[in-house]
């Protein structure tokens, strides 16, 4: 086997994956907050639009990464929807834009029923956006480290975790009782997500330990990279988990939770980059070069 690190995708794609996931999750969680936790129409409007803005920011990086960015319009030609996750992702992203905007309009005009349906659809699309980023990488059969069912799961969890972190930052600035309530809900949810993420990462590496050569190489590359071990695992996962756990029992430790949120966001970004970076092709012997 010839093992070759992939070099086509790098920071640009990682940035897109991060902001795409974050935007989707922000929109989904924001609308959830408005609809279930009664945070008010402006919260719903602003979070959904913020989510879309973040998504748009991510998409800029995707377009920059095209061979010729001026050809980006072709992205809308989704003829490959039957099999391609980029095509499906484009549909979902378009859905997120359409329903997110319609939701915001409906919320603004206070058309409750319409808003409700648009909200559900927008949440669904937002969820879809967070999920598809993992599936996107998963489809590469030549890169065994990506080609595992754990990857979409990991990316989805991580995306929601970063979404939670962002919302916590927003909610912390709000004074209302509902905000506080939702803050705690999100905090709890995030603790659950980070725990799940740790478990997935552990399972992932346990699988990699006995996986094939390429997976092992990817795992070794990551374990040897301080950005991963210290940057992501310690500072991006374990530390915020402890801090948030601490904050959740201590009523007055909002600041600690905010620090944890920022760490989660940075950790999430690092995770995207590192997973993309650690993609190793497993070519049949003789092919590479």
């Amino acid at each position: 086997m010839d093992l070759v690190q992939q070099h086509i995708w790098g920071w640009n794609i990682a940035t897109y994956l991060f902001f795409g996931g974050l935007g989707g999750a922000t929109m989904a969680l924001g609308i959830l907050g408005e609809m279930r936790f009664k945070l008010g129409k402006w919260f719903g409007i602003l979070t959904s639009l913020l989510g879309l803005a973040i998504l748009s920011f991510g998409l800029i990086w995707l377009v920059i990464d095209l061979i010729d960015p001026l050809r980006f319009l072709l992205a809308f030609w989704v003829a490959g929807i039957g099999h391609s996750w980029i095509a499906r992702g484009m549909v979902i992203i378009n859905g997120a834009y359409i329903f997110g905007v319609l939701y915001a309009i409906a919320a603004f005009l206070e058309k409750e029923t319409f808003k409700k349906w648009m909200g559900y659809l927008a949440m669904f699309c937002g969820f879809g956006v967070t999920t598809y980023t993992g599936l996107l990488l998963n489809a590469n059969v030549g890169i065994p480290f990506w080609h595992t069912p754990a990857l979409p799961l990991l990316f989805t969890i991580s995306a929601f975790s970063t979404g939670c972190a962002l919302l916590m930052l927003i909610l912390a600035a709000m004074k209302s009782h509902e905000a506080k309530h939702y803050f705690h809900f999100i905090e709890g949810f995030d603790i659950f997500l980070i725990s799940a993420e740790l478990l997935t990462i552990f399972a992932y590496f346990d699988f990699a330990r006995l996986g094939n050569a390429a997976v092992m190489k990817s795992a070794h590359m990551l374990l040897a990279n301080p950005l991963f071990t210290i940057g992501f695992v310690v500072l991006g996962l374990i530390s915020p988990l402890i801090l948030e756990a601490y904050a959740s029992v201590k009523e007055s430790a909002k600041g600690v939770a905010l620090v944890a949120s920022i760490m989660v966001l940075i950790g999430g970004y690092l995770l995207r980059y590192l997973i993309v970076w650690a993609g190793v092709f497993q070519y049949p012997h003789g092919l590479a070069g």
Partner: protein
């Protein structure tokens, strides 16, 4: 077709406007690369002959033709060619990249007044200005024809020979230096030439590897997978047909990689290996008895003449060619010594005799002890046991025994005796040993063996007829006929008859400067001449420095015309050559080339050459192809810049040197002698060329079409059309030719006895003419030379000392290709092995070297030092470092090739070896230091 809709859509896309969702691309394109604007013109296929190495493959150029505009798009092998069988190598493929190389010289350049040679300060000029400058220099310095030296490089040697000869004849200049002839051809083949009468690997003969069952390659990577396509396709077919290949090479070359057995022999020890093989073949009776008795001179009776073997009956006059009246053999039937013809292909003929391979003990003849050539051969090798050879070669003795058994027991078996491999003092003897093995196993002009080319057969038919008719009794007629004969006869005819004699009328009493140099060397140092030295550069430095004399008068070279070669690199000894070209005694240096070579920097005038795709040619046979076919070049590129063909320049220089009156009559005489073309027509056409009314290549084309079409019973137009359509006009197959004119079965081979020679009559002649020397031993001898002072053949380098070996990479042939962007990128992909010194990991560990570490390599004999880096690989012996020879160009204007890899000319000194004057390119050791 690409639909308009989608194109509009894309335009829209690039505008990045709004309303994005409402477009509709049409169904899939049926063509994968939409040409937005197809360039104008029609596609036309034009045949040509590849020019990247001496193999000269048949190619077809796919060109876009628009009125007078022509541009090649792709080159493929000509499928109708039985020579390269429709295939070509990377160099052939990349042809257009040289034609359109951005570095190409497109206009004449004149060195700026006041600048030094080597600096590269030139100004653009017109052809008229350049020629005026040349004429002025010639007049100012009163340069005489014999004061000119023409360096005719690879293209000239392989394709423009006629132009060079015509030029030389038209002004009476004997000083032709072939592409480093002694290095490229002479050393390579002399040993084999004197045995079978023709040059074996270079451009004269193909080994019928299609049918060979056992092949021993002695080095020879450049001749097979390194790569010569006509041979490589046969090698590949042979391997498909289950040919067993044994490769002798200190490093795992491409050819060795494809061998069944790679024997990593110690550099320089081929001779010991081959002698041990000969011993086993003779000892076990694994030789073709009947063939040896009948068609070789193995049964010739030989006596000892001042310590050197000499044949009874051989012409002893050193000033004549070694043709003889009679030779003698011992007849086993009658038990008597009987005479055999002096020049024939068959010792027996209709006679009832059985020439003995081994003479009876104590046989005497004419009062002297007599032995057969075969006896001598056996005596030379009888102590060369596998154990002994294994020790010298540093390989297991079983490898030698197995090789001998394969060669001995399986037929057809054959040997590839070497090409472009390291040169040691004994290169001629070791190539001769390889050729003798081939003779012993019967691999001469036989299925699966060395097959002569049709031109040699035709030439020998003509020569034999003339010789037997008695028309050659007058010395001048014999000289001319010999010079125009093929193979070895032709070489010696030209060399001794024209170049070295100083008596050839055309050259007005002047020999080649070599001859004056030999006299100088003899007088000053008591050194022997270099007897096998056609078109070599020995003595050029001395001729420029003004050390040489002829007939008491100074013999100086004042004008060097360098055409498509790069002596600074290709002739070894960079500094020697750079100093010589800087010498103010050299009043004029003109370089004609396609690219700004290293030597171009030393020119006074640089002239832009045309590439092979831009020219017509005469009608040629297909090089060494065993089948007989005719071919011709058709240009497929329209005029680029202000370039002219090198052959046009020959006409211009000829006129410049003879005050506007180049003697095209003599040129026509020589050309028609060489080609058999009609004298009158040649004269007419050359007159046009000399008067500047027709480029010389067109004159050759028209002459050839006129003469050849007559022979074939066609009109010139018909012939031209046929050639243009097919590229190759096949006339006879190998089988037919071997049946009709098998050599030596039906015709003599081009040696001086007409037989295949175990005893070289020519080397016997050299012993008479130049004194006895083991390097030109007529049969075989083991020379115990030294790698360096005190380091004999059993030397084992230790510490940081290594043997040195070099070879070539399949994508390159020196300057012609080094600056080709496409080929450059091919070698860049594996640049470590191309640009660095190969070293075995064990040695690297010993020296503490890691892959890519910078090193300094010092020649322990010459003291030259170069810097490079190390490439660690298992594919080379532990006591040897190996490097590629194709790189190391210096001229900064070569955007792609400059400064890459190793320039061997800075590691190998200009130190000429014996017999052929080949540079002793590997006879030294090197020391490697980390820097």
């Amino acid at each position: 077709m690409v639909s308009l809709n989608r194109r509009n859509f894309l335009k829209l896309s690039s505008l990045a406007a709004g309303g994005l969702m409402f477009f509709k691309p049409t169904a899939k394109a049926s063509i994968y690369t939409p040409h937005w604007k197809k360039p104008a013109g029609k596609i036309k296929y034009l045949p040509n002959i590849c020019s990247y190495c001496s193999t000269a493959c048949d190619i077809v150029v796919r060109a876009r033709v628009n009125g007078k505009f022509m541009k090649p798009q792709k080159i493929d092998g000509n499928e109708k060619s039985t020579y390269n069988r429709g295939r070509i190598c990377a160099r052939g493929q990349s042809g257009p990249r040289t034609v359109y190389n951005p570095d190409r010289i497109k206009y004449p350049l004149i060195r700026v007044e006041g600048s030094e040679r080597g600096e590269w300060k030139f100004k653009k000029a017109t052809w008229k200005e350049a020629m005026d400058y040349i004429r002025k220099k010639i007049e100012e310095n009163k340069i005489q024809p014999h004061e000119v030296a023409v360096f005719a490089g690879q293209r000239a040697c392989a394709y423009e020979k006629l132009g060079v000869f015509a030029f030389s004849a038209s002004i009476g200049c004997p000083n032709i230096v072939g592409s480093p002839m002694q290095h490229c051809v002479m050393a390579e083949h002399a040993g084999a030439d004197v045995t079978v009468g023709t040059m074996i690997t270079h451009d004269e003969l193909l080994v019928d590897m299609d049918n060979t069952k056992v092949l021993l390659t002695v080095g020879s990577n450049a001749a097979i997978a390194g790569i010569s396509v006509s041979r490589a396709v046969r090698f590949a077919r042979g391997r498909q047909n289950k040919m067993t290949v044994i490769a002798l090479d200190p490093r795992l070359s491409e050819t060795a990689a494809k061998a069944d057995k790679w024997i990593p022999i110690k550099p320089g020890s081929d001779m010991a290996f081959l002698m041990a093989i000969i011993r086993l073949l003779i000892k076990n009776g694994w030789y073709e008895d009947e063939f040896l008795r009948r068609h070789t001179n193995a049964p010739f009776l030989i006596y000892d003449n001042n310590g050197a073997p000499f044949a009874f009956g051989q012409n002893t006059n050193p000033d004549q060619f070694p043709f003889s009246q009679n030779y003698y053999v011992y007849d086993e039937i009658s038990g008597e010594v009987v005479p055999v013809d002096g020049f024939t292909n068959d010792n027996i003929g209709n006679k009832k005799i059985k020439p003995a391979l081994f003479a009876p003990k104590d046989l005497t003849f004419q009062g002297k002890p007599a032995k057969t050539a075969f006896d001598y051969l056996w005596e030379t090798v009888k102590d060369a046991t596998p154990e002994w050879a294994a020790k010298v070669c540093d390989i297991p003795k079983e490898d030698i025994e197995e090789t001998a058994e394969l060669l001995g027991r399986i037929r057809p078996a054959t040997v590839h005796p070497g090409w472009m491999d390291g040169r040691y003092e004994d290169v001629v003897q070791s190539r001769k040993a390889a050729a003798i093995i081939n003779v012993l196993v019967g691999g001469v002009d036989s299925v699966g063996g060395w097959v002569f080319n049709p031109e040699d057969r035709e030439g020998m038919e003509r020569f034999t007829k003339a010789y037997k008719s008695g028309k050659l009794n007058n010395p001048m007629a014999l000289m001319m006929a010999t010079a125009m004969a093929p193979g070895l006869l032709g070489v010696i005819g030209k060399l001794e008859g024209m170049m070295l004699s100083g008596k050839f009328p055309l050259f007005r009493g002047y020999p080649h400067f070599n001859r004056a140099y030999y006299d100088y060397q003899k007088e000053k140092y008591g050194k022997k001449a270099i007897p096998f030295s056609l078109f070599i550069n020995a003595g050029f430095q001395e001729a420029v420095e003004g050390k040489l004399k002829w007939n008491g008068k100074p013999y100086q070279i004042k004008f060097a015309y360098i055409y498509s070669t790069n002596p600074l690199k290709d002739y070894f000894g960079y500094k020697t050559w750079a100093d010589t070209f800087k010498n103010p005694n050299l009043k004029l240096v003109v370089v004609d080339d396609i690219l700004p070579s290293d030597v171009a920097a030393f020119a006074d005038v640089i002239l832009p050459d045309k590439t092979y795709l831009e020219k017509y040619s005469g009608i040629w046979i297909q090089g060494p192809n065993s089948d007989l076919g005719l071919r011709m070049r058709f240009p497929s590129v329209s005029q680029i810049g202000d370039t002219k063909g090198g052959d046009e320049v020959f006409c211009m220089l000829s006129n410049a040197l003879s005050h506007g009156r180049g003697d095209y009559g003599s040129a026509a005489m020589i050309v028609s002698q060489f080609t058999g073309w009609d004298m009158g027509k040649t004269m007419k056409e050359l007159a046009l060329a000399w008067k500047g009314k027709k480029p010389l290549y067109k004159a050759f084309r028209d002459t050839a079409l006129y003469t050849v079409s007559k022979k074939l019973g066609m009109t010139p137009k018909q012939l031209e059309e046929t050639l243009e359509k097919k590229g190759v006009l096949p006339l006879k197959t190998k089988e037919e030719l071997m049946e009709e004119a098998g050599m030596p079965y039906k015709l003599p081979v081009p040696t001086f006895s007409g037989r295949v020679e175990i005893y070289s009559t020519l080397f016997g002649h050299f012993n008479m003419k130049y004194g006895v020397d083991p390097h030109w031993h007529p049969i075989l001898t083991y020379i115990d030379w030294e790698y360096k002072k005190g380091a004999k053949r059993d030397y084992k380098p230790t510490g940081n000392e290594f043997f040195f070996a070099y070879g070539k990479v399949p994508e390159m042939t020196y300057l012609t290709t080094a600056d080709n962007p496409l080929l450059h990128s091919l070698v860049e992909r594996h640049k470590d092995e191309n640009y660095g010194f190969w070293m075995n990991p064990k040695a690297a560990e010993r020296l503490g070297l890691k892959e890519g570490d910078k090193i300094e390599v010092e020649n322990t004999v010459s003291g030259q030092k170069i810097r490079s880096f190390v490439h660690i690989t298992e594919m080379v012996r532990e006591d040897t470092v190996y490097v590629m020879s194709d790189f190391g160009l210096d001229n900064k204007l070569l955007k792609y090739g400059s400064g890459k890899g190793v320039d061997l000319g800075r590691l190998i000194p200009h130190r000429l070896g014996p017999v052929t004057g080949s540079v002793l390119s590997c006879q030294f050791t090197v020391k490697v230091r980390k820097i």
